[in-house]
Symmetry: C2
Subunit: 225 residues, 2 copies
DNA sequence: GCATATAGTTTGAGTAGTCAAACTATCAGA
DNA sequence: TCTGATAGTTTGACTACTCAAACTATATGC
């Protein structure tokens, strides 16, 4: 098995590659996510390449091999099942479980993981709406669009909160924005860089465009009658 | 917080001291339990002493300071609550949870631990009958005697299995010997070094004296009428 | 009381991961 | 095409942990 450190690099490269259009991760971003200097990241990425977990060439971007992606998805599966357990079984708040899962994900064995999955009823997604990869290394990403892309007047359902920071999640919860919440886009102010929404059971809120890009929704079909 | 390695040494010293009459742990035993050479154990114990977690002098035994014991009890609390969770909530077998808890105990935060304790209803002991230390660092050790010390004819209740090895626990389970089982001592054969018992719902079994020393029971009061 | 087995210690070296700081490639703008 | 700015790389050193092997205390048997 990979060390805890290697697992953290794999997860960082996987998520950064997913966010970038080129599908690769920049060394400085990897370093920032893992929490080390870029020099350290360079030397670790070399090791990943030597272990056939990543592809990389000097001054070029980093991407995972299929072996590396598979390993990253396994870590993500552990992470998200643990988050789900912490919220559903132990009743912890969705804003704190990310950091807790970050530690536990490296210590859980396949046996305990599968028992957890069974206990939770094989959930499809975690408390933030992130899909849980299957044991065979596949993931089903439900269709959704960033809230930032919605036109004023759209009625939508919040399906995923991508920003896992505690204060970001607390902000959403405090304004009635949870997974499954129905909301309406009230107005979009490109000048101010904000978007105002109203949740079914909350007052209106404004989000920055950056924040609204990290909230995914499904646009609701128009109601008739 | 102590590193995972330091936690393992503390736990080893704590349990070895408890088993020894002098209340100290031998360097070679510590090394064996932690799984390192004695040279490595010596240098780590020096670090523990420097950190005021253990008292030790050259060629003398090792014992924990009160600070060290406190830390060890905290680790034991985590270990035993995790074992209880794995058996009660995830339905894993009592013979496998020791090794699983060994990894998880280093990764669980106080917040998750207390949520687990609440979820489990503040259990007093784990699935092997080991008492769970309280959050304040106290432990209640219920009175019990080794099965090896029981006279033939005694009726007793199994309250604790000290040998955590998978095959030892499987053996007990297979012969109807679980925590809470009522059993009767049929005969003691000092010549053969064995003790034969009969459980309420199982056939008779013979245990070696060594094995019977690691099974704790409460002798049942005589029934009247 | 001395030899020796046993337990414990020390030393030197290695691995994994890290940083600070010196250095180098790449690219955008003048 | 030169010049910086930026991003990435390399080097040397450090920490935490480990082992093998040489060495030393202690206890025991004769």
């Amino acid at each position: 098995m990979a060390t805890e450190t290697v697992e953290n690099y794999l997860k960082a490269i996987y998520t950064l590659s997913g966010e970038s259009p080129a599908g690769e991760a920049a060394m400085s971003r990897i370093a920032a996510v893992v929490g080390v200097t870029t020099g350290t990241a360079t030397s670790m990425v070399k090791k990943l390449a030597a272990a056939k977990l990543a592809r990389y060439e000097r001054f070029g971007g980093v991407r995972l091999t299929s072996k590396g992606s598979r390993a990253a998805l396994d870590i993500l599966r552990r992470h998200r099942l643990i988050e789900t357990f912490l919220v559903h079984t132990l009743n912890l708040d969705w804003s704190v479980v990310h950091d807790e899962a970050e530690r536990l994900e490296h210590a859980i064995s396949p046996r305990v993981l599968e028992a957890l999955d069974r206990h939770l009823g094989h959930p499809a997604s975690d408390p933030h709406g992130d899909p849980i990869p299957h044991a065979d290394g596949t993931v089903a990403e439900p269709a959704s669009v960033p809230l930032a892309a919605c036109a004023p007047g759209s009625a939508c359902r919040l399906v995923r909160a991508m920003d896992q920071r505690e204060d970001a999640l607390n902000f959403l919860r405090r304004h009635g924005l949870e997974i499954g919440s129905e909301l309406t886009v009230e107005s979009v102010e490109p000048g101010a860089g904000t978007i105002s929404v109203k949740s079914a059971k909350g007052s209106g809120v404004s989000l920055s465009e950056a924040a609204a890009r990290r909230v995914l929704v499904q646009v609701q079909p128009k109601r008739h009658g």
